[in-house]
């Protein structure tokens, strides 16, 4: 039965491939030089076609704006009392204590209030596990093969998930949406600007690098072990990763050979495009960031070994509840840790959590991140960061609020490859800004205004800037 299925699949793929090639040839005949390789239709040319799912994000309208008199957490570790933030043309123009706003600017009196960069969630499943959480919406885990590197989270995102609006009200302006953790290799992530949109393309962060979700430990071995197939153990997991990278390297070499020949004008047969291997090859070439779900310290070090074996870099470990045990190694390897303060105990690999995980990474000189992985926590990343900060102080670490603010701003920006664009209030960066009514490390703080690219995206006092998703209309009696 399995053999038959495979045969049919191969036949279908070949037929489709041949068909597309024929059609393209008839539209665009090969160049006169018969020896030269024909250019492939873009959908069949690995890595050369333009992005069929390109960002169509358009910033909201913005006006020159000055936020005046607030305590500013810059996101770079600094805190400025009584400061001014100038926004112009969607960018941060200036940040400082002694700035006089130009006359033409909209001046927001922020005295007694707080300003931070827009918060960034480096680990979300909004849109792929939306609310309501019904089977019809559950699109985050393609649990059909241990390696589904070919799937892209953006093809699952439901832009009408009410969770996006709730996250924005909590100050979240950018988020990395990942596929789930049931596979060794789950697929590509997508980075979103948190604005209401009809399509996911309208939300896509322009030119953001792709990420690859990988998962260690209990999830893949449970999902596939329970089906009596590999992997059913952690050693099976590792064999699965290594096999995947061997295949990916082989695939990358075939395409490199083909390109070299084609560029020299030699006759060459293009390899068949393979979505799974293409994503993995993108990692090996350094174009795609590895976001690795992993809890245990010993397992993270195994993953570093695999990365060294095949020559790729792990950008961040996610969850990583035992990161504090290897804080020195993670700092030396320059691998970020995206974790929580309070979550633990759902399974054995989540048993050795400590509340001070992020502060211990920070204290070792590493890149600590507080993330949500949850549609509720994403609304209160500042509170989760406050809980981590408190645990760090209780452990004896001297950590300022300014430094802790990096855990939900600049550090996640780094982990998703966008630290040059957002994550801190520095001139030239996108004007992603949150105005808080109180110190955001207080449980009572609420985001009053949220700006994306300088445009007012949310205003707690003005219903015109409190968007509702299509799903929320006419439901829930006045919600």
């Amino acid at each position: 039965m399995r053999v038959l299925t495979t045969a049919v699949a191969v036949f279908a793929a070949a037929a489709l491939s041949g068909c597309a090639t024929t059609a393209a040839t008839s539209i665009k005949p090969a160049a006169g030089d018969a020896a030269k390789a024909r250019s492939l239709p873009k959908g069949l040319d690995s890595g050369r076609g333009e992005d069929a799912y390109a960002s169509t994000y358009r910033p909201l309208p913005s006006r020159p704006t000055a936020l005046v008199g607030a305590t500013i957490f810059t996101g770079t570790g600094e805190k400025i009392d009584g400061g001014v933030v100038l926004i112009r043309d969607g960018k941060i123009e200036a940040v400082g204590a002694a700035i006089v706003p130009p006359a033409s600017y909209d001046v927001i009196d922020a005295a007694g209030k707080f300003v931070t960069p827009g918060l960034i969630d480096a680990h979300s499943h909004l849109g792929v596990y939306p609310s309501p959480a019904v089977p019809a919406h559950s699109d985050g885990n393609e649990l059909t093969d241990p390696n589904t590197a070919g799937v892209w989270a953006e093809h699952s995102v439901w832009p009408q998930d009410p969770g996006f609006n709730l996250a924005r009200a909590g100050g979240v302006t950018t988020l990395l949406v990942l596929p789930g953790s049931g596979n060794l290799i789950g697929g590509r992530s997508v980075t979103l600007r948190n604005i209401p949109a009809r399509t996911v393309q309208d939300m896509k962060f322009p030119n953001a690098p792709y990420g690859l979700k990988m998962a260690c430990g209990e999830n893949p071995k449970r999902v596939y072990g329970s089906r009596n197939r590999a992997p059913s153990t952690r050693m099976g997991n590792v064999a699965g990763y290594r096999s995947a990278w061997i295949n990916a390297a082989d695939y990358a070499r075939k395409w490199d050979d083909y390109r070299a020949k084609a560029d020299r004008g030699e006759k060459a047969e293009p390899p068949k495009r393979d979505l799974q291997l293409e994503t993995l090859a993108g990692v090996l070439k350094g174009e795609i960031l590895v976001e690795n779900h992993c809890y245990r310290a010993d397992e993270m070090v195994q993953m570093i070994g695999i990365a060294n074996e095949f020559g790729y870099k792990i950008t961040a470990f996610h969850h990583a509840l035992e990161a504090y045990k290897i804080a020195d190694i993670l700092a030396k390897e320059d691998i970020c840790v995206a974790t929580w303060a309070n979550w633990w105990g759902s399974k054995l690999e989540a048993w050795d959590a400590v509340e001070a995980n992020a502060p211990m990474i920070h204290a070792a000189g590493g890149c600590a991140i507080i993330k949500s992985d949850d549609p509720d926590v994403i609304q209160r990343l500042n509170q989760e960061a406050a809980e981590a900060l408190a645990a760090g102080r209780a452990a004896g670490y001297q950590i300022t609020e300014g430094e802790a603010m990096k855990w939900i701003t600049l550090n996640p920006a780094k982990a998703i490859g966008l630290e040059k664009e957002t994550g801190s209030l520095e001139p030239g960066k996108r004007a992603d800004v949150v105005l808080w009514d109180k110190n955001p490390f207080s449980i009572y703080a609420k985001a009053e205004r949220v700006y994306l690219d300088g445009g007012l995206a949310y205003d707690r006092r003005d219903p015109r800037y409190q968007p509702k998703s299509d799903f929320e209309l006419g439901q829930g009696a006045g919600r």
Binding site: Y129, S131, P132, A133, V134, P135, H137, S138, G140, N141, L143, P162, L166, G180, S181, G182, E218, N219, H319, Y324, K325, A327, D328, W340, N342, W343, W344, G345, S346, K347, L348, A350, W351, D352, A353, V354, M360, A364, D373, D374, P375, D376, R380, Q383, A386, L389, A390, R393, A394, A395, F441, S442, I443, Y444, K446, E472, Q475, G476, A477, R479
Partner: protein, 456 residues
């Protein structure tokens, strides 16, 4: 201003006999009593033999402490009663994926399922919860399919085991999920305080699931079960002779439900949607039974009816998403609106086990969204004490009650505040947990010996 000269020994004698070595005086504190005395800006609390003997305004008295009294200067910090967590799973679950002791799947033991026999005082979760100021908890069975959504394949990572308030698994098919028990979180070999404080019953989608798929069938099944219990009470002898018709439930379940039909044990009704809440209120009225609503995300939409029925409500104040079609109206203002309507509100943490320590932050969020501060404090102290029949022992700082209290550096709802002392029944608790031991083991990674060797 009255000037009193108070001797601890004299006070202690009045309440609990002569002062002994375990006498404690906590001075220089902002005392949030959650009792009739309200907030005392510069207060002191006296403890003797496990009981609170006095709660006083320090500006109106001068003290002379009896020899042997331990004096703790709170340094301007806050003293609160220990928090009481409802819908808890403490002592009944360790690692969620490895199983738990709060869901029974036995056709003859539904209502009779009693969590009091599952309690593990050595659970590592208990010190973690205690460090968040929780000193008592209502351990509550999980009802079947209460969540209603049920399709979350992402329950792999941080997600918390759901509680009687928030949903549940689908293992059980019983109309009744079982009986709750109150525990204390002190160091002891026996943590049970009071068993049989409530009977968990799922309504809404969860109730429909256990009754064959429809809400209307569930209520009818419950009516049938309660009628059988009443028949059984009248005809026990006939039952024992096998002289009665077949009844809907096993004998053990019939027995377990007697206190419910007699109005001595409340049902903890797991219910989310406004229409289902109204159905529960109607059902309870018709059956003349006591009810506590649990979940009640759309409670604010029926707040006046709930208040008029005198029914208390357990809510998670963070529920604000249309997580299922039963919670389309979920709102951060739910707790505040219920309180404003006159409902007795009880706050719960974000789950009942590992994340229960977030209870104090949830209270802070309730305050942010409209609940008065003192009401939020009451909702995690005196309200649960009253509702679960513990108000003569705990829930407020009043003379004669058990000395369950916490000294905080500042406002306990704030993450940046920390406990500096925790007393349960007058006994100082260790301010540590397995997590803190792990933390300290790995703080210094530079030693020549592996961390597993105790450091010199």
């Amino acid at each position: 201003m009255r000037e009193l000269f108070v001797s601890l020994a004299a006070l202690a004698a009045a309440v609990a006999g002569p002062a002994l070595a375990q006498s404690v005086a906590i001075t220089n504190a902002r005392v949030l009593t959650a009792g009739p005395a309200g907030e005392i800006a510069h207060g002191l609390v006296l403890i003797d033999k496990g009981k609170i003997t006095a709660v006083l305004d320090q500006t109106t008295v001068r003290l002379a402490f009896a020899p042997g009294t331990q004096v703790i200067d709170a340094q301007g910090g806050v003293v609160t009663p220990g928090f009481i967590a409802p819908n808890a799973l403490l002592g009944a679950v360790e690692v969620r994926s490895l199983g738990d002791d709060v869901v029974a799947n036995n056709p003859d033991i539904g209502a009779a399922f009693d969590v009091q026999y599952a309690l593990n005082p050595a659970s590592t979760l208990i010190p973690v919860a205690r460090m968040a100021g929780i000193t008592r908890a209502v351990v509550t069975p999980i009802s079947a399919g209460g969540g209603g959504g049920g399709a979350d394949f992402h329950a792999d990572d941080g997600e918390e085991l759901m509680t009687a308030g928030g949903g549940g698994g689908t293992k059980s098919a019983a109309l009744f999920a079982g009986q709750a028990a109150v525990i204390h979180l002190g160091e002891a070999t026996d943590i049970l305080v009071k068993p049989k404080v409530g009977m968990v019953v799922p309504f809404g989608d969860g109730g429909a699931n256990v009754a064959g798929g429809a809400r209307g069938a569930e209520i009818v099944a419950l009516q049938t079960a309660f009628r059988d219990v009443r028949d059984y009470i009248r005809n026990r002898a006939a039952y024992d002779r096998a002289g009665v018709r077949d009844l809907a439930l096993s004998k053990t379940d019939l027995e377990a439900l007697i206190p419910v039909v007699e109005g001595r044990m409340p049902i903890i009704a797991v219910v989310h949607k406004a229409s289902d809440i109204r159905a529960v209120l109607k059902f309870a009225r018709e059956e003349k039974i006591k009810v506590i609503l649990s979940g009640a995300e759309e409670g604010w939409m029926a707040a006046r009816e709930i208040a008029a029925a005198g029914v208390p409500v357990i809510v998670d104040p963070l529920s604000d998403r249309p997580e299922t079609f039963q919670t389309l109206g979920a709102s951060l203002e739910n707790a505040g609106k219920l309180h404003a309507a006159g409902v007795t509100v009880i706050l719960q943490g974000s789950g009942g086990a590992h994340r229960i320590r977030e209870l104090r932050y949830n209270a802070g969020n309730a305050v942010s969204y409209g609940m008065p501060y003192q009401a939020a404090l009451a909702a995690m102290t005196i309200n649960p004490a009253k509702v679960f029949g513990l108000a003569d022992q705990v829930g407020s700082l009043e003379p004669g009650k058990d000395a369950d209290l916490v000294i905080w550096t500042a406002d306990p709802f704030e993450p940046l505040s920390q406990p500096t002392a925790i007393f349960i029944r007058g006994q100082a608790q260790p301010l540590t947990s397995r997590q803190i031991e792990l933390r300290d083991r790995y703080k210094d990674l530079s030693g020549p010996y592996p961390v597993a060797y105790p450091k010199p």
